[in-house]
């Protein structure tokens, strides 16, 4: 634990008497990592960030930053900085004094402060904005002031609470690039929260998926994407078609999974013996083939082309196999061109691309159907 920049053990936090925001959360962050916390609203990621910064106290468990126990250590004594979701710029100070605030509190002298603040503002692209009032700035500019203000005190750990959430798409992309660049340049540890999985996938060195106060999975983005350990993680990271079923038998390289609408095949090259288990069968939209391409594949079904969502680069097509069971397929626009809504087409996929996930969620007692289809 001592060599990790952040470590927690069984962290518990209650809001009042009935809301358990953090439920025995245990994890570690490597120094210099770009660590992304993702999860739906209410999963505890903002709470965790606030507990790490010291703004909120925790009820049980341990929190270590750079090896020191943070129990009863107030925020101004932690080697941590934070960019809050609401930015929280000081309205009665101009940009310069906002950014300089932390340095003033640390007792730096005036010439050093002047130099560092100018440098920090240049770094976020706001050179020359020193005399402006926060009230005159646009949302994106305010955010960058908040970022400069947090960075200028050179913390070991920089916490960013939903920095991409209140910002338009173009700015999101730019901000993600800027954050990645800054992180490489400065080299300290970034911890960022978001509820959008694409942000996590593109920014993270390590990703942590949270769900109502517990950790569903931690790992590299590509690891979580290719091997989700729970249905929740599979659903939250990358799009996926999920069906609940039971493994009826295993023959050679193939598992046979019976669902209420048909029998699905999945690869079993080195898999454990899970015959008889109830689980979730998952197949990502990009692996679904249509028509000619589907004819050679082991999983084949007749379906009705029932709808589509156009995304520019790709089209998400909906194929209805039976009433209520729809498979999402991600296809190139050219391929969709020849398809007609309402017509019947064959869809198929390779058993090797399928995922079998036994655990609905790290949270005990959840029904797999609930996690698959949502409550």
């Amino acid at each position: 634990m001592a060599d990790k920049v952040v470590a927690t053990k069984d962290l518990v936090k209650w809001y009042g008497k009935s809301v358990l925001a953090l439920n025995k959360v245990t994890f570690e962050i490597d120094e210099g990592d770009f660590f992304v916390l993702i999860g739906p609203s209410g999963c505890g990621k903002s709470t965790l960030l606030k507990v790490m910064s010291g703004i909120l106290d925790y009820d049980e468990g341990q929190l270590f930053i750079k090896g020191s126990d943070m129990k009863n250590v107030p925020p101004h004594k932690r080697d941590v900085s934070m960019m809050l979701e609401t930015y929280a710029l000081f309205p009665h100070m101009n940009v310069f004094n906002n950014v300089a605030f932390g340095l003033k509190m640390l007792g730096k002298d005036a010439s050093e402060i002047e130099r560092e603040v100018k440098e920090s503002l240049e770094l976020v692209g706001l050179g020359g904005f020193e005399k402006r009032s926060p009230l005159e700035l646009s949302g994106g500019q305010r955010q960058r002031v908040a970022l400069a203000r947090a960075l200028v005190i050179k913390p070991s750990v920089l916490l960013l609470d939903e920095p991409l959430s209140h910002v338009d798409y173009m700015l999101q992309r730019k901000l993600m690039e800027d954050l990645k660049t800054l992180h490489k340049k400065i080299g300290n540890t970034f911890v960022l929260t978001t509820h959008v999985q694409e942000h996590g996938l593109s920014l993270a060195d390590t990703m942590m998926v949270m769900n109502t106060g517990v950790i569903e999975q931690i790992g590299r983005p590509d690891q979580i994407y290719s091997t989700p350990r729970t249905v929740f993680a599979a659903r939250f990271v990358g799009d996926i078609n999920l069906f609940s079923g039971e493994v009826t038998s295993r023959q050679g390289d193939t598992y046979f999974v019976k669902t209420e609408w048909g029998e699905l095949k999945a690869s079993s090259k080195e898999g454990p013996d899970i015959v008889g288990k109830k689980l979730a069968y998952g197949i990502r939209p990009k692996f679904i083939k249509v028509n000619d391409e589907a004819l050679s594949l082991a999983n084949q079904f007749k379906s009705k082309f029932s709808g589509y969502y156009y995304f520019g680069d790709a089209v998400e097509c909906l194929f209805e196999i039976v009433d209520g069971i729809t498979v999402k397929a991600s296809m190139a626009p050219e391929a969709v061109f020849n398809l007609k809504l309402g017509e019947s087409y064959t869809i198929g996929w390779n058993p090797a691309d399928a995922k079998l996930i036994e655990k609905p969620s790290v949270i005990e007692g959840l029904d797999i159907e609930e996690v698959i289809y949502g409550k």
């Binding site: 606030k50 010291g54 809050l84 609401t86 929280a88 009665h92 100070m93 509190m105």
Partner: protein
């Protein structure tokens, strides 16, 4: 009234002839400095004392009482004295400040004093009464200003390495300044308009308001009007200065 103040007093009446003799007479009279100092000195001191008691109360109410119900309850309690008629409230002062009153009784029982203090009809009575009467006018604007402060800003300051006392001074106090000034002005105006309390409870302290009403009750209109104008002008000057402080804050803000 301005016109009246410039008329010439003749015996017990006046002539509508413009003159500044009323003002001159006042400012050259030996009592003038005493009256002015009494009036504005006591008022300003009362405002400051009210601020000293009011700010911590407002702070506590805003930040340390978390249930809305409790907050409302406390504010209602503060308003209770206003539900009681002024004259009856005045009678209450006898039993609080008098020689056999509660304050003296408590102090004697605690052994802090051996003989009852004379509180009634002294300057101290004036301060006690004025502060008590006006405390709500100070607490409320400050509470409103403090309440408006975004808690996230306070959190941000903490994470930016500000220890609690610096968080208070740099962030909370500075952002509550408009509320402080407002409260100060409320109490100032309220005490200014109260010519009765000094006369009745503070032993007939020589105060401008008292002079105004004395002249008026003797039908000496020009003199009375002149003093009233003096009162008004000085009060406006003080208000102007106070408002400038908030303005300057906004213009020169850091």
């Amino acid at each position: 009234m301005v016109a009246m103040s410039l008329y010439t007093p003749v015996g017990l009446g006046y002539l509508p002839v413009l003159t500044v003799v009323n003002y001159v007479n006042f400012f050259t009279s030996p009592q003038a400095p005493i009256i002015l100092v009494n009036t504005f000195g006591t008022i300003l001191l009362a405002c400051v004392i009210t601020l000293i008691f009011g700010y911590p109360f407002a702070y506590f109410l805003t930040f340390h009482i978390n249930s809305e119900k409790a907050k409302t309850y406390i504010i209602s309690l503060l308003m209770v004295p206003f539900l009681i008629d002024w004259t009856i409230r005045s009678v209450a002062w006898f039993s609080i400040l008098g020689e056999g009153g509660i304050i003296n009784y408590a102090l004697m029982v605690m052994g802090a004093i051996r003989q009852p203090m004379t509180l009634l009809f002294t300057r101290n009575a004036l301060y006690i009464i004025w502060v008590q009467t006006n405390l709500l006018f100070m607490i409320f604007p400050i509470h409103l200003a403090l309440n408006r402060i975004d808690r996230d800003i306070i959190n941000a300051a903490k994470v930016l390495k500000a220890p609690p006392h610096k968080v208070f001074y740099n962030i909370v106090f500075k952002l509550s300044l408009p509320g402080v000034i407002t409260g100060f002005i409320f109490v100032f105006v309220s005490t200014l308009g109260d010519a009765v309390t000094p006369g009745l409870w503070a032993g007939g302290l020589q105060v401008l308001g008292l002079s105004v009403s004395t002249y008026a009750s003797n039908f000496l209109w020009p003199q009375s009007a002149a003093l009233a104008i003096v009162l008004l002008v000085i009060a406006l000057a003080v208000l102007y200065v106070l408002l400038k402080i908030v303005d300057i804050k906004k213009l020169i803000y850091e």
